[in-house]
Structure formats: C-alpha cells, structure tokens
Amino acid sequence: MRLHRIRLRDFRGVHDREITLAEHGVTVLQGDNEVGKTSTLAALDLLFDAADSSRRAEIRHAQPAGVDAGPEVEAEVSTGPYRFVYRKRWLRRPSTELSVLEPARQQFTGAEAHARVTAMLDETMDRVLWRTLRVEQHTAVGQADLGGQDALTRALDRAASGPTGATGSTARPDPSVDDGLVARAADELRRYRTPSGRATGELRAAEVRRADAEAEHERCRAALEAVERDVAARDRLDAELAGVRARRRAHGDEVAELEDRWAALQSRLREVDAARGRAVLARERAEAARERREARDALVAAAEADAAAAETAAAAVAAHEAEHAAAHDERDARRGADTAARADAVAARRAADAAARAVTAARDRAELADLTERLRRVAEAQAGLDAAERVLADTTVDEDALAELEHLARDLLRAEAARDAAAARVELTAPAPLTVVVDGEEVPLGPGETRTLPVAGARALSVPGVLDVRVRPGLDEAGRDDAVRERARELADACEERGVADLEAARAALRAADDAARRVEEHRAALARELVGHDHAAALRAAHDAVRRRLDDAPAGQDDLAALHTAADEALAAAEEAANRAEEADAACRTAEDAVRKADTRAAVLAERAADARHAHTRRVEELRAARAEEPDAALATAEHERLTRAREAEREHEALAAALAGDDPDTVEARVVNARAVAERLAGEVARLEREHAETTGRLQAAGHQGWHDQLAAAEAELDAAVREHEAVTRRSSAARRLHESLTRHRDRVRRSYVAPFRAQVERLARIVFGPTLSLEIDEDLRITHRTLDGTTVAFGALSSGAQEQLGLCARLACAALVDPADGVPVVIDDALGHTDPERLARLGAVFTAATAAAGAAQVVVLTCTPERYHGIGAATVVPLAPSRRPRERGASDRAAPVHVADDVPAATPGTVLDLPRAPRAG
C-alpha cells in the first residue's frame, strides 16, 4: 500500500490540511507539537476502520469544539492493482465516498464504499504488518512482533527458497491458511490439555467420569459380593445350628445323672477332710515334743564337746612348750657355728694371698736374671761393634782404589813382558851344580839345567870367584827397560798414595775392611735381638732396675715356680671352701631364727585358744544347768512318747475313712461333672453365637433385598463401560491433537528457522551502518533480535541501552520494509522516535533510512517529528514542514501563543492548508 495524499478537515485542531507524500523513500513531516502530526495518523486509521455512523470516543474527540461540522478525512491510496480516493465524514451529516481510479473507474457511497475498501485492503495488504511497522509517539521503539507477519513471511519464504529452493514451498496460493491451521491445531489441543500438559476440559471430565465409574462399580461389586457371602453364610449357619442344638439336647441328660452322683460323694468327702485335719494336728504336736527333747540332747552333747575342746587346747599349749625351747637352743647353736665358720674363711683367704705373693716374687727373680744376661750381651756386642767400626774407619783402600792398583800392576807386567820378549837372552847351563850370581842374586843351577835370562838392561852375571860377566843391551832394549821402570814407578806412587806398601798389602787391607763390615752387621743384629721390647739399652737397664727394686721388698724363697703355683692354687681352693662353709652356716642360722619366731607366734595363738575354750565350756555348763532346773530330761522323754502315740491313732482313723471313699473314685466323678458342665456351657455359647450370626445375616439379607444391588451394579457396569469408551476416545483425540500440533509446529519452526537467515542478513546490513562492521545479531524463530554482538562482545537485546534498542528496532522495521514485496509493502510510520539516539548515531541512521529505501519498489517511510534535526541525516528524504491549520477567527488567539510560526501560516482563502510539496524526492 502506498499513501499519496491525506486531507483532514475539521479534525481535532486541524481546520483543513492536505499532505502529499513522496511515493518512494522517506517523507519527513516536521512541525511543532500539537500541529497535528499524530492526528493525521489517527485520522487514517479511523478512515479505514470506523464506519461513518460510528460515534466512538476517538471520533467524538476528533470533533473540533464550537464548530458545526463533523470531522472529515480523505485519502488517496494505491494498493495492489487499485488506486482510489476515499473520504469519510462523521457525526454531522456523515457520509462515505469512494472513487476507484484504477484499474477501472468506479464510484461507491455509504456502507457499500466501506465494504469495498475493506475488501480491497484485505485482499492486497497485510494490515497487521501495517500496525506492526508503526512506531507510536512516546513509546519506546522496541522490537516489532514480526514473526507470523504474512507479507514478511512471504518475502522471507521467497528469500529462503529463492536461489536454492531448499524448502520446496514454492507455489503457495493462499499461505495464510497455514497459520490459521496451526492456531486451530493449538485450539484443538487446548480443548484437552493446558499449555503445561495437564488434562483439562473434555479429557479431564472423561478422566473424572472414569475414575468415578470405577469407584462406583467397585462399590457395587463389593456390595454384591457381600450379599453372596451372606447367602452362603446363611446356608452354613442353618446347618450348623441344627447340629449344635441336637448335640445340646443329648448332652443335657448326661449332665443330670452325673450331678446326682457328685452330690452324694460330697458329704463323705467332707468327713474325710475332718479326720485328716485331726491327724495333722496330732502329728504336729508329737513333732513339737520330739523337737524339745532333741534340743536338750544337743545341749548336753555340746557341753561335753566344749569340755573336750578346752582340754585339747591346754594339751596343745603344753606340747608346744618343748618344741619352743628346742627352737631356741637350735638357734643359739647355729649362731656359734656361724661365727667359727666366718673366722675360718678369713684365715684361709690370708693363706691364699701369701701363696700368690710367693709366686709373684719367684717370677720377678727369674726375670731379673734374664735381664742381667741380656745387659751383659748388649755390652759385649757394643764393644765388638765399636772395634769393627774403628777398623773400618782406618781402612784407606776401597774397591775402586784396588781396581786402579790392579790396573797399574797389569800395565807393569805388560811392559815387562814386552821388554822381555824383545831382549836378548842369556842361557846358562851348568854341567855340574853351580851357583851363579845374577844381578847380585844367587841362582843355583842343577846339573844339566838351563836358565834363560832376558837381557833388558845391563845385567851382571858372576860366578863368584870365577867369572864376572857383564851383559849390556843394545839401545832399543834400553828404551824398553825405561818403560818398565816408568810403570813400576807409577805403581809405587799409587801404592804410596793409598798408604799401602804394595799391591798385596792393598789387597790384604781391603779384605780386612770387608771382615770388619761383616762384624759390624753381626753385632748390630745381636743388639737388636737383645733389646727387643726396649728402645735402647737404657730402657732395658731401667726395666732391670725396676725388677730389682721390687725384689728388694719380696721375701727370699725358693724359686721352684711350679711348686709355688701348686701351693697357691691349693690355698685359693681352701679359701673358697671356707667361704662356702661360712655362708651355709649363716643360712642355717637364719632358718633357726625364723623357726624361733614361728614358735613364739604359735605359742601365743595356742594360749589364746585354750582360754576361749575354757570360757565356752563354762557358759555351756551354765546353760545346761538352767535348762535342767526348768524341766528335767526325764519329763521331756515322757511327753514325747505320749504325743507320738496319739498322733498315730489319729492318722490311722483318717486313712481308714479315706480308703473307704477312694473306693468310690470321687476324682473321676468330679472330673466328669466339671467337664459336662463346661461342655453344656460351650454348647449354649455356640448356639447363642450361631443364632446371633443367623439373625445378623438374615437382617443384612433383608436389607440388601431392598437395595437393588443388581440394578446398581448393572448401571455401574454400563456407566463404567461408557466411561472407559469415552475416556479412550477422548484420549485418542487428545493424542491426535497433540501429535498434529507437535508435527505442525515442528515443521513451521523449521521453516521459520530458514527465514531467519535472510532476515538477519538484511537487518545486519542496515545495523552495520550504525554500529560498524563487527556487528552481528542473533535472531530467533519469531524474528526477534535476541543478542547483539559488537567487537566480539555479546549482549542480550534487553540488556542493551535504550538508544541501541531503539536503533536496532528501527533497523528491523526498515529491514522489513526493504524486504517485503512491493506489492505487499506497507508504509513504515515513525512518530517522533529516536529520542535516545546521540547525534553521531543519528547521522548514521540517516544512511540506514536511505539504504533501506534505495531499492526500486521499497516501501514508503513516513517520519513524524517536531525535532527535524534528528532526521537531517536522511539523504533521500522529502521534508514536509507542517504549520498550524486554524480557522481564520481563531488565528488571533493562537498567534499570541505561537508567534514564531505565524509567517508560515497559509491564508484561509484556499480550500485547505495545502502545503507546497516537492514533486519528487530530492536525491541524496
């Protein structure tokens, strides 16, 4: 639907005004308060809804005061294929006129015109959406109830199934049937169950009826069964009564006979009882006499016994006295023995100690001898050692020196050998023994013996007195001889240097040194051996002196150690023996002391007992004497005998009577009488009980006969059957209703969920202009915004600020306006909203308006405001300023009230207050 033009005459404060609206985009009607913006909207509603005959409150209030004309409204509207001008006047000369301009020109008046307009609007326009998309003045711009809006649903259906065709609901000639169907299914379900699922209405009634019928049926069935039981009980009672009565009659005769016999036995029974009483009494008296005599006998015996006891006690005291004295003697003897044993033990101990000391002294003497010997050997070794060390200290030849001397000697020998080999020889042979002097030495020669003499130097041979021969070597030979001398000299020098005469002496000196070194070793070993256990000779000496000092105090004695040991051991054994004996004597002594103490105690006890016994005996004798004085023993014996005789007589008499009675067996008779009486009583009780039960049962049966229990049960059965059938049928119907409703709503919700996506896309597109690109929204199946998410923060719609709620509410309405089919579209009317929106957001909202109405065929948006700056940001807006429209004669008064707008007023000469309207929306 689109509004082209609205004209108000004499409507509230408006005298006459026509407003032309932009066909597309946003029309802003701006004007001060009370200028008639809201009246324009109200007028439009009345035009469509109220018949010209209506006098309802809004119409009466629309009547301007003091004017003789009814309020009148005229509008030019196009909707679907229709375009028409529609005018109504109420109250005064009411009229309705309709001029249809398209598709064909037609004229209607009166009720026919109203019906025609209603039909056209119903056919082409979603009137609920028209109301929903309106934002009334002074109301919060909350959420529009868009779920279930047919035009919107159609649009969303198209959007949801558009490119994909997923829902399969393409051709829907009359979709409005669907929602009506769900509502009817819900109504059907509500007939049986409350929204919370409790049974109600028919179902509840059926349940109640069934429960009642079951209870009633049970009541009747139980009653009928009770009657049946009573019938059976009556049969049983009849039979039992007859039987019991017969038994009772038979029993009566038996009782009478037994009672007679029992009465006869009763008197005899009493006689026997009397005799028994007498016998018992006599026997009691006899018993008393016997007891008195026995008491006297006992007293006599007791006195005798007491005398014997006193004697016995005295004897015991006497007997103990000897024993007592013996104990004292024994103790004294033991004490003497104990003292002697102690002395013996001390002596033995001393002897043992002396023996031990003799052993020690002998051992010391042996040790002293040993130490003296060792000291002597130490001195010997020390002297040897000192001598050997002196030899060593005097020795000048060592191994190296000897080796050098040996070397020099060999060199000499070689030199001599070399000289001799090269020298001429003189061979001397003597045919007869002859002594030759060679170089001054006599050399004896045997017969035929030859001697060869080397001629190294000059040699002189002589046979004394006979011949002297001088042999001189040549020059060479002289040189060699010089070498030999050189070598000899060297050797001699070396020997001299070493302090030895020659090589042989050197060798002897070295041997002497070696011998001395060996002896040093031997003496040191001997020293070490003897000093073992002591660091040095002084310590040994000190030990020796210590032992000798000890011995100074010790007695001299024999030094046979073995004998001494034997003596010491024997002495020790003797000492121990003596100690043991002393201890035994001590123990015996203590035992004897104990025995003495016991004997003392016992003597005291025995003396006390003897005294007690004496006293007891005295008292008893006194008692007996007193008793005999009162009644002598003989009198007692006589009385006893007499009474016993009488008692036996009485008992014999009773026995005779009782035996006579027992012959007649009174116990059996009594038992039978008692039993017969009990049986009679029981039978009487039985009869009474049966008769009572019979009477009760009969009474109940008679009463039941008038109750018509069969009829009641039959009725209850029929009712129960009907109630069960009805309940089952209603239950089936209610289940079916629930199933159908559940199925329908489930499918509807599924479809609605598919509608949410395109709707949300559209709302988000617009809302992002206000809130920025991070905005996203959650929208439920009823197309309500439930949550807003901005910059990652999610807030429930109800928790948003009033401004944000207002802005989102507006976006949702405008989204709706942008979504719906142009053919289905209705104007979005916003009456002075956005009071909660700040200027920054207002500017952005302007862009929202433009975006929402930019599409070709987008719905009309009409904004009414007294604060036009709120809507300055809407680019695609057609602004219509409204000024007060007043009757000419009122103007003066109003001028004073609102002088600012006087200039805007239009002269009343024109047919109405026709505002100069832009013919086309200004492009943003």
Binding site: D178, G708, D711, A716, A736, L740
Partner: protein
Amino acid sequence: MRFVHTADWQLGMTRRYLGARPAREAGGPTGEAQARFAEARLDAVRALGRIADEADAAFVLVCGDVFESNLVGPEVVARACEALGSFRTPVLLLPGNHDPADASCLLRRPDFVRRRPPHVTVLDTPGVHAVAPGVEVVAAPWRSKHPLSDLVGEQLAALDPAPPGTLRVVAGHGELDVLDPDDDEPARIRRDGVLAALADGRVHYVALGDRHSAWADAADDRIRHAGTPEVTDFDEVDPGHVLVVDLDEHAARVRTETVGRWRFVRHYAALDTDADLDALDAWLAARADKERTAVRLVLRGTLSLRQRTRLDELLGGHGHAFASLEILEPHSDLATVPDDADLDALDLHGFAADAAAELFAAAGRASEGAGDVEARDALRLLHRLVGS
C-alpha cells in the same frame, strides 16, 4: 388340558450397549433404550398373559429365571407384580439359577410376597404340587446357585407312575446333557432319565427353562425349552416365543406364539470400497423397527482416511436411530490406511504439507503392524481442521 409353557423372563435385565446414565442415579433401568428394553420384557409378560387368558389355559408355567437376579430392586419387583396382575390365568413361578430359592430368594422377599397377585404361586419347594384337579406339577426348583446334582432327575426318580386320569408336568431349569455335554457340570439334566419317565408314564410333559431359544427334543417332543419371550442376547437362535401346550396322557400338541418385539442382530460386512460402504449404508437403512433393534457389526477390510471418515459419519448417523449400533471390535479387522488421494484432498502447502506428509508416512508404515494409530487420528483431525 391346556397350559402355557414359558421361562427366562429375566426381569430386571439391562444391557450395557443400550446406554448408561451416571451410576449414582441407579435403582432402575438406565438410559432411554434401556428403559424401553425393560418395558418390553414386561410387555412380553403381559402379552403371554393375554394369550393364556384367551386360550383359556389352566395355568402359565414359568420354568425359572423369572427375575434376572435375586437382588433386583423393589421397582423391578413392583412392575413385575403389576404385569402379573394384568391377566387372570394362574401362574406358577419356579426359581431358576438366576433367582434360586436361597437365603436371598426374591420370590420369598417381603416386597414380592406383599405385592404378589393371588393367582401367582411360587414353586420354591421341590416335589409334586397339585395345581388343578387331575393336574400335578413336579417342581425341581434351584435352591442355590450351584447345585451339585441333577435336580430334575432326582424328582423323577422319587416318583411313582401318575395315578390314572392325572396329568403330570415336570417344571425344571437347566440344560439337557445332550445340549451341553459339559462333564464337569453336575447339575446337567440326564436325558435318559427324562425319556424313561415319559415312557413309563410317571410324567407327561417336561417343561424346561434356561435355554433362551425355543427347542424340542427330537426323540420325544414333550421335552421342550420355551425360550425367552423377549430377546436377551445376540447369540440366541429363536427367542421371543411362548408355547401353548395341549396335553393328554399320550401326546402334547404345542402351538408357538410370538410375543417378543425386539431384535438383536449381528451383521458381517467386508469394507474395502465405496460400494461396500454404500451397501452397509443401505443395509442399515433397510432395518425395520430400528428403535427396537440392537446391531453389532463385524467389519473387515481396509479403508482410506476419507472412507474411514465416511464410515464414522455413516455409523454416527444411523446410530441415533437404532437402540444400539456398535462395531464388535474383538471380531473386527478394519484397517485405516491413508492413500494419496487423502493427501491431495488436504491441498496443503509449505510446512503444513511437510507435516501432513510426515504423518502420512507414519500412518502408512503403521498399517503393516500394530500401528501408529495416533498418526492416523492426527491426519483425520487435520482433515477436519482443513475442512473447517
């Protein structure tokens, strides 16, 4: 000698299918059809009394079950006595299994004794009763609900042959052993004994009650059941009659008079097509005396949703005319299976069409087994809601 043989009046009987009213208001017939049915039983008594008067019968012999129960209310007793008082012929009432002569015996109850017309005699003591000159009735009344012996047989065994010139009629209640060979039932009447008693002249006619259909023994037609004078159940073969018996020492000539006016009908029908529904409709329409007719339908077949709806409407329409019209569910096998035509007939779109398709699928599946009756019911409701 002429007498009227009848039995099983079952006065005070109600039938649940004849309607109910809230049980708290009990104390008489309930429901409108129920009341008419009760009245019809009394009408039958009055009618047979008229027949007896007109036939100049010596007596009317009622062989047991005069009342439906010993515990029927005083109203039933009062109306029964009124009906008995509407004719002159003497009446002999024998206690049967429904109204035995036990401690609660109605025929001895003060309210009955007080109102009983003078020509009415109660045969509550067993044995021979001289009811008219030369006529004896041998009564075998029930003394409890569960007798332990053949009551008729006992009476016959105790009898000598009838004196010359005396006619003897046995009055008994119970099935003959040939009619119901139940070995466990000690009270069965031995047919051999009855035949022997007839043969040797101890008795001349054996009048029996308990079987609600008229019946005569094939070997000796003097052994008879009169049947109930007004129908009581659907399985009765030939109810609604009384027997007018002309008896001598050798034979009985029996005339059957019809007094019952109600019908209990069981009807079998196969329902698969619209033509079957037409036929059922026509059959119901053709019944005469619908207000005195109770119909039980045993239906078999498979119907679509639309046909089922039509059947329900059809039965609902006729039901108002009949005293009772109901489907005997335990013996019926009637399936309702929605077909495509049902779905198309709904002419639904969008989610409603989806929901309907789902319910159709569920209902269709269920037709194979013990099924989703709820889905079918939901579909029928959907039909109704769419149509409205």
